[in-house]
């Protein structure tokens, strides 16, 4: 018997992982949630059939979305995380002793419950006393926040479905308002490779550029996401992601990582020409 999980990356491209067995399947008010076990990627979580994370490559995503802003900001104390019900971003954030408070806003409580039960690799630090979880629409939560956060991490799903509000200009504008005067927002920025993803990427980039004075993009390689070539947005009120970056200072913190390091930090902002052009088109 062969059981395969398949996700359509484009109408003409499929990506499949051989499934050992399925651990969980359920529907929340918002979406279908599945957890599978596989030989190649370990456990993995899908929402509405779209790959969210696998045990094998989640470290790349979570380290890159977390450590880049945390290393640029000189003294990040109050952090807001939107989405990220799997707990991966929280896990990375709790490694910074100087962080005082982590607010996590996840629309779907069931995602957190399922991840706590089946994905202890990522959902392992919800018990940290600095972590406060709010089950609410991120668009609504942030509307009322003003001048409160040093770093906002937008760990969204896709620009369609329950997370689509997290790709809108009203949301980015609200993030700007919620940040302190030297705050940084980092977001999951889609992929530049396949046409449809690239169009979504350009749309959100345009909206961020219009909302923040500094808006840069960096990349990472995430094998289980469409094309594997993935982008993150770095939007900031004051700090430039590489010019204002002190790699030595970050290294001194002694945080052990598997993907992120100071040289890679600078390098990640060096983008292929075709990506630069896609971005320039909307800037």
């Amino acid at each position: 018997m062969e059981l395969w999980f398949t996700e359509r990356h484009t109408p003409n491209v499929k990506f499949s992982i051989k499934v050992d067995h399925q651990l969980y399947s359920g529907n929340s008010e918002f979406q279908r949630i599945d957890i599978f076990d596989s030989k190649e990627f370990g456990r993995f979580l899908t929402l509405d059939g779209y790959m969210m994370l696998t045990e094998k490559d989640e470290f790349i995503y979570h380290e890159m979305i977390t450590h880049v802003p945390m290393a640029v900001h000189p003294n990040p104390k109050n952090i807001l995380v939107i989405g990220a019900g799997d707990g991966g971003v929280v896990r990375e954030l709790t490694r910074y002793p100087s962080v005082e408070s982590i607010d996590l806003v996840e629309i779907d409580e069931l995602v957190v419950e399922v991840c706590k039960k089946y994905l202890p690799t990522t959902a392992c630090r919800f018990g940290d006393p600095r972590v406060h979880v709010f089950y609410e629409d991120g668009v609504k939560f942030i509307r009322r926040c003003e001048d409160m956060y040093d770093v906002i991490i937008v760990d969204s799903t896709d620009p369609f479905g329950p997370g689509e509000g997290l790709f809108t200009k009203e949301f980015y504008g609200s993030c700007f308002k919620a940040l302190r005067e030297d705050g940084i927002m980092v977001n999951q920025h889609e992929s530049p490779f396949y046409d449809e993803d690239a169009a979504a990427m350009q749309r959100s980039h345009k909206r961020i550029v219009e909302s923040f004075p500094i808006s840069k993009v960096y990349q990472a390689h995430i094998p289980t996401y469409p094309s594997g070539h993935w982008l993150f947005g770095f939007a900031s009120k004051k700090y430039h992601p590489t010019n204002d970056y002190n790699g030595t200072k970050w290294s001194m913190k002694g945080i052990k990582t598997r993907y992120y390091n100071p040289r890679l930090h600078t390098g990640a902002f060096a983008l292929p020409n075709y990506v630069e052009e896609l971005l320039k088109d909307v800037e």
């Binding site: 629409d137 668009v139 609504k140 942030i142 509307r143 329950p162 689509e164 509000g165 809108t168 200009k169 009203e170 949301f171 504008g173 609200s174 308002k177």
Partner: protein
Amino acid sequence: MAELSQVDAPIYDALRRLRRMRVVPFDVPGHKRGRGNMELTEFLGEDCMSVDVNSMKPLDNLCHPVSVIRDAERLAAEAFGAANAFFMVGGTTSAVQSMIMYACKGGDKIIMPRNVHRSAINALILTGAVPVYVNPDVNNQLGIALGMSVAQVEKAILENPDAKAVMVNNPTYYGICSDLKKITELAHAHGMLVLVDEAHGTHFYFGEDFPITAMAAGADCASVSMHKSGGSLTQSSFLVLGERVNADYMRQVINLTQTTSGSYLLLSSLDISRKRLALSGREIFAKTVELAEYARKEINDIGGYYAYSRELINGDSIYDFDVSKLSIYTLPIGLAGIEVYDLLRDEYDIQIEFGDIGNILAYISVGDRPRDIERLISALAEIKRRFGKSETGMLTQEYISPIVAERPRKAFYADKRSLPLDEAAGHICSEFVMCYPPGIPILAPGELITDEIIRYIRYAKEKGCQMTGTEDINIEHLNVLC
């Protein structure tokens, strides 16, 4: 018919039967179930094209219904608590015109509020009926025209005992209702018919705790835009009648202007929507109201904006309020409604129903998702933060009482000449000028052009209102009577 009930949809069923029969069409439409126009079929879908058919025996005939359309009309009448109902395929415009043409011949008087939709004044041009305008009360803070006050209607009735009918606009676009019951009693006591433009009130018939419906108030005719809150296709509508209206004569009046090729797409959409609302309207509109109330509260919490509701009720010209409407006053953030309307679309990809000088209206329906409501609220908060300014210098007046100098029909057909806007003051206008939506005329044929009106037109243009009605597409010239 006896065995039919609200779970049935006779036109819908007849179309499905027809589809199964696979009849070979040697009649119009010439696209022959879509096969003759593949690009259109790919765009609209084969299912849709296969029921775009002409009247035929199994499908009845809209102009002279004897079978499935008659059955469907009876079910609709029952659902609306009316004596009779007509399926209308020319929009609520055609329903409004039919009820006025039923009530009035050339020279007959009709009492109506001036802030009617242009379709009502168009009917005056068609029939030659003479309007007796009751100027609506105006809320000076919001700058919007309200309902008709009973005392004003009574005064108009006493001064014009020969008037044939009273027309009421209920609710207004903004959700404001008049005292329909009292106005109806008053008109009936003086032998006048009561015609209600209920374009924005379909849901009153099917939800709970909404303002009174025209039929329940005893009115004689009501034009109900099923395609607005009722969920049917654009351009489909109902005309419903009370006991004292002769339905057979009304059908003849409707047939004066309505197409003889009524679209079965529109007819089936009315039939299916009526069934849906009759069966689950209560839950549908409870959900709609819940969304609207939530949005109203959140928007008022932003500050600056004023999303108004039942607190406006004053027992007369705001006798009741439709809480499913999300009308928002924008001037305190220093932006005209039309500017907020444009920003929502251009900056935030959000399309709302309309924006005028001081207000916007977001149309809320069961099709809305909570996450979209959150986007709308956040976008309004962002517009305030990014674009908000001082309120000074904002024009507030939304409604200018017109000076009627000539009958609409006479003015429309009179000899006329074109004058530059700035030179038109003091002349009688022979055409309409309005912002669309909402489609309520600033000037109607036969009305005096004043400096105040010209200022208003200039201001509305400058703020970006979509102006319509004039022969000159740029509204730099007005046609005036020679």
